[in-house]
């Protein structure tokens, strides 16, 4: 662990604010009103100004542990991303597996968030999300391992080094779209928002108000930042690029992935859980397995 760990909170908060603003610019694509850069701060203040909602016999410990864990997992995921070639906040030789562990624990955090208020709609959101979130781990791991194969190492610093000549996006084209599925699931957005959907009255956030709700929304946005940085590192070459300093390139690529993810979130419809499950197991998983097999054949 290096002193670079101190840059993590700044990066996460800046990324969260930017993602929230892009979310509020998106309605302009469909003829709605776009909001200014202060709109996320206003909405955040409107949340913080309200008190916490209480329910009957909740699981008090996990009610705060869930959004807190979600935030910590976003930070942990971002900490293994290299900020410059050879430099990361936490130089882990198994950065990809660390990210996988963050994904798995995110499913646990969302489940606990829906479990703790002791209310039917949040609980439905929680286990519906788990049924989708756990199968999504599989394509995620296949795609990341395929991205690591040219580098012959699980460390993200090596993965970035292996992209000096050509980005992974060019030699493994379906990797990024499959990884976007993972990103949408991890951040509870768009076609994968089974946890906080409108048909269950807000799902796991139905009984949340005030600082608890603000913390959950912040955690979702920071996870989007961490995911975007991870996708930029694994597929777009991370901090590599001519001219500008390396962290600037990472920031630019992170913002590009963030824009893509938020666009997908607002443009794609959400189907029913059983159908989505069917699509994941029958389409996404074999596709990611083929993708890995192809990457392995090329690497041999």
């Amino acid at each position: 662990m290096s002193p670079l760990v101190l840059t993590l909170p700044v990066a996460l908060l800046a990324g969260a604010w930017l993602a929230a603003w892009i979310d509020r610019l998106a309605p302009a694509l469909w003829g709605g009103r776009a909001a200014g850069p202060l709109a996320p701060l206003r909405d955040g203040a409107a949340l913080l100004a309200r008190p916490n909602a209480t329910t009957e016999a909740p699981d008090r410990l996990t009610r705060w542990l869930a959004p807190g864990t979600y935030l910590v997992l976003a930070a942990a995921g971002l900490s293994v991303v290299p900020l410059a070639p050879g430099v990361a906040a936490v130089d882990s030789p198994v950065g990809i597996v660390v990210w996988g562990a963050c994904e798995a624990l995110t499913v646990v955090a969302v489940f606990l968030h829906g479990w703790s208020p002791n209310s039917p709609f949040p609980l439905i959101g929680a286990y519906r999300y788990t049924a989708i979130g756990l199968p999504v781990m599989l394509p995620s791991m296949f795609v990341l391992i395929a991205a690591a194969l040219p580098a012959e190492s699980l460390s993200l610093i090596a993965v970035v080094e292996a992209q000096r000549e050509v980005w992974n996006l060019v030699r493994q084209p379906i990797g990024l779209p499959l990884f976007l599925i993972v990103g949408l699931t991890l951040t509870l957005r768009g076609p994968f928002d089974f946890a906080d959907g409108a048909d269950i009255a807000g799902g796991t956030s139905a009984e949340e108000s005030g600082p608890g709700r603000a913390l959950w929304q912040l955690a979702r946005l920071t996870m989007l930042t961490a995911f975007s940085a991870m996708a930029a590192t694994a597929f777009l070459g991370g901090p590599l690029g001519p001219g500008l300093p390396a962290p600037m390139w990472l920031a630019l690529k992170t913002v590009a992935v963030m824009l893509l993810t938020i666009l997908a979130c607002h443009a794609l419809a959400r189907t029913v859980p059983s159908r989505m499950l069917h699509l994941l197991w029958v389409a996404a998983l074999p596709l990611s397995f083929l993708h890995l097999a192809l990457a392995g054949w090329v690497a041999l």
Partner: protein
């Protein structure tokens, strides 16, 4: 006012609407205009909006919803005649400054006795069942799909649920999110014709499909591409072949009005998952559902 309160006061107020007869379309247009934000549950709201004159059978539900909004809270009544944005804004400022908090309307007590028979005094079988903390514990029952013994939970989804037409009360027994049994307790309130117009109905379904911006575009008079139809599963609520929820949404997107009366839907939603059931219910206009519920 502190900086936080000043920032919060300039944000649109989170409003939970209790929609009475004839007020569905004005309320939906109010939220589409952006002067207030629709809260999906009372816990996330600060202002309770009572639109129209709510019949007596739903008055107890309004009390329950009122108490679920965390205090400080305000209630705003709207008859549909004037523009409500000023009164909503004033209510929101009042909520933020915290003066004149409305007290609870119902006593804060569980509905059942905690003491009873059973080993631990909760009225159950051994370590399970009974009414711990006054609420019935889910016991097992057979799963209609598999024959396994899974927990069954019965609940009432009340008259002002955001995903159902206003006034509709359902008693559903859930196993997970599968509806094992459903009963219609009260029909939806009568609404005016504009609430059952194709753009409004299609907008409601699009919101459930996670596309709020497309829904707002429909309400403004724009068109939405038919690609969203893939998200609705085939064969939902098909009275006849080719007349399922997907076909009804396609007709609405093309601007044609749908069926005048829905089939008896209490039995139709049994065996469906919650999301499928809600999509199916919203593929008929509120007027069609009302006629079906009153005919049954």
């Amino acid at each position: 006012m502190t900086l936080l309160r000043r920032l919060a006061a300039s944000a649109p107020p989170p409003v939970y609407p209790c929609i009475g007869p004839g007020m569905l379309d004005p309320v939906e247009r109010l939220f589409a205009s952006g002067c207030a934000r629709r809260a999906l549950s009372p816990a996330s709201a600060g202002v309770l909006l009572i639109a129209g004159v709510v019949p007596d059978r739903a008055a107890a539900a309004i009390d329950r919803l009122h108490d679920q909004v965390p205090p400080p809270r305000r209630t705003v009544g709207w008859s549909g005649a004037d523009e409500p944005s000023n009164s909503l804004h004033d209510a929101w400022s009042g909520v933020l400054s915290g003066d004149g908090a409305e007290p609870d309307r119902l006593p804060d007590e569980p509905p059942n006795e905690w003491r009873g028979k059973g080993d631990h005094g909760h009225g159950g079988e051994g370590m399970m069942g009974g009414t711990p903390y006054g609420r019935p514990m889910a016991m097992t029952g057979e799963d209609p799909r598999d024959g396994l013994q899974l927990d069954r939970y019965t609940m009432r989804v009340g008259p002002f649920a955001p995903m159902l037409p206003p006034g509709l009360e359902l008693e559903v027994t859930l196993q997970g999110d599968l509806i094992a049994a459903a009963r219609v307790l009260q029909p939806p309130f009568p609404q005016e014709d504009t609430a059952s117009a194709p753009p409004a109905c299609a907008a409601r379904m699009l919101r459930l499909l996670g596309l709020p911006h497309h829904a707002d575009r429909l309400l403004r008079g724009g068109r939405v591409r038919a690609g969203v139809l893939c998200a609705v599963p085939k064969g939902l609520g098909a009275a006849m072949p080719g007349r399922d929820a997907r076909a009804r949404l396609r007709r609405w997107l093309d601007g044609e009005p749908g069926a005048a009366q829905a089939p008896e839907f209490g039995a139709l939603i049994t065996g469906l998952e919650w999301h499928e059931a809600i999509l199916m219910l919203n593929s008929w206009s509120p007027e069609a559902l009302r006629r079906a519920a009153e005919a049954a």
